[in-house]
């Protein structure tokens, strides 16, 4: 009887450990997948920022039509001087967000990104 209980306890421990490992790995996979998706959004946001800065747009923009539900991408510009603009880009899911800060410099009539700081 005691041996049976001990065996069942050990089996339960093994199954719990296995379940916990599988859960942790699947959670990690999900987070890494979301991270990759958010980085794609940031890259799209940078392209959006670059096209808008060429048109001398300022202010805050919400990117339209992200096909994933609950995903958001916002782009905002802070003008530091006439030849230097900082863009803040934030991509988010409900419980997960990534952002980046881009510094644009005007060179020969073209805005170029000179710094890109990823905020994880």
């Amino acid at each position: 009887m005691i041996a049976a209980i001990a065996l069942m306890s050990l089996s339960a421990m093994t199954l719990t450990l296995l379940g916990s490992t599988i859960f942790n790995q699947s959670r990690r996979t999900q987070i890494l997948g979301e991270d990759a998706q958010l980085r794609q959004f940031l890259i799209a946001g940078a392209a959006f920022a670059q096209s808008h800065i060429q048109q001398n747009s300022t202010g805050e923009f919400s990117m339209p039509k992200i096909s994933l539900p609950a995903a958001q991408l916002t782009v905002s510009f802070d003008s530091i001087s006439s030849s230097r603009v900082t863009a803040h880009i934030e991509a988010s899911f409900p419980h997960h967000r990534l952002s980046q800060q881009l510094i644009f410099i005007l060179e020969n009539g073209q805005w170029r990104i000179t710094q890109a700081r990823l905020g994880l």
Binding site: A3, A4, A46, Q50, A116
Partner: protein
């Protein structure tokens, strides 16, 4: 007067019981050994994954702002920035990844880089471990047509 008869176990019953006990304890021992091994390997896997994620996160932050990425050999990568500074990543023979910043400070992630190697293309650093899908670490500046090496 009634005589008491104490019925004992036959040798067959005793042997069968002992055999069942031996099988039972052998199974219990095996399950116990598996539990301990699984617990240890699960912990090791978790630690290694966490360390590798931390190193790759730092590498992503470095590469994101890179104005040039060069790979002098598959065990090292040099990431240069617009202000002229650079960060070097190295993989040593003890499976460690080492990050050396512009001031010469180094940061080490132990036992994560078994089989890792670096390659570079136009706008990214590629980290491969020879088993899983290579990780492409992108430079936002190079990707959007910024300075090229």
């Amino acid at each position: 007067m009634r005589a008491h008869r104490h019925r004992g176990f036959t040798i067959t019953e005793v042997l069968m019981t002992l055999s069942l006990l031996v099988i039972f304890f052998a199974a219990a021992g095996e399950v116990f050994r598996s539990t301990v091994l699984l617990g240890k390997s699960s912990q090791d896997l978790c630690d290694t994954a966490s360390q590798a994620d931390s190193a790759l996160r730092q590498l992503r932050i470095d590469a994101w702002n890179a104005r040039a990425i060069s790979v002098p050999d598959p065990r090292s990568a040099r990431i240069s920035f617009a202000d002229g500074t650079a960060i070097t990543w190295q993989l040593d023979s003890q499976k460690s990844a080492i990050r050396i910043d512009a001031a010469g400070h180094s940061q080490r992630w132990e036992n994560i880089a078994a089989g890792w190697s670096f390659t570079a293309d136009a706008d990214s650093l590629i980290v491969s471990d020879g088993k899983s899908v290579p990780q492409r670490i992108i430079s936002q500046i190079l990707l959007t047509g910024g300075p090229k090496p």
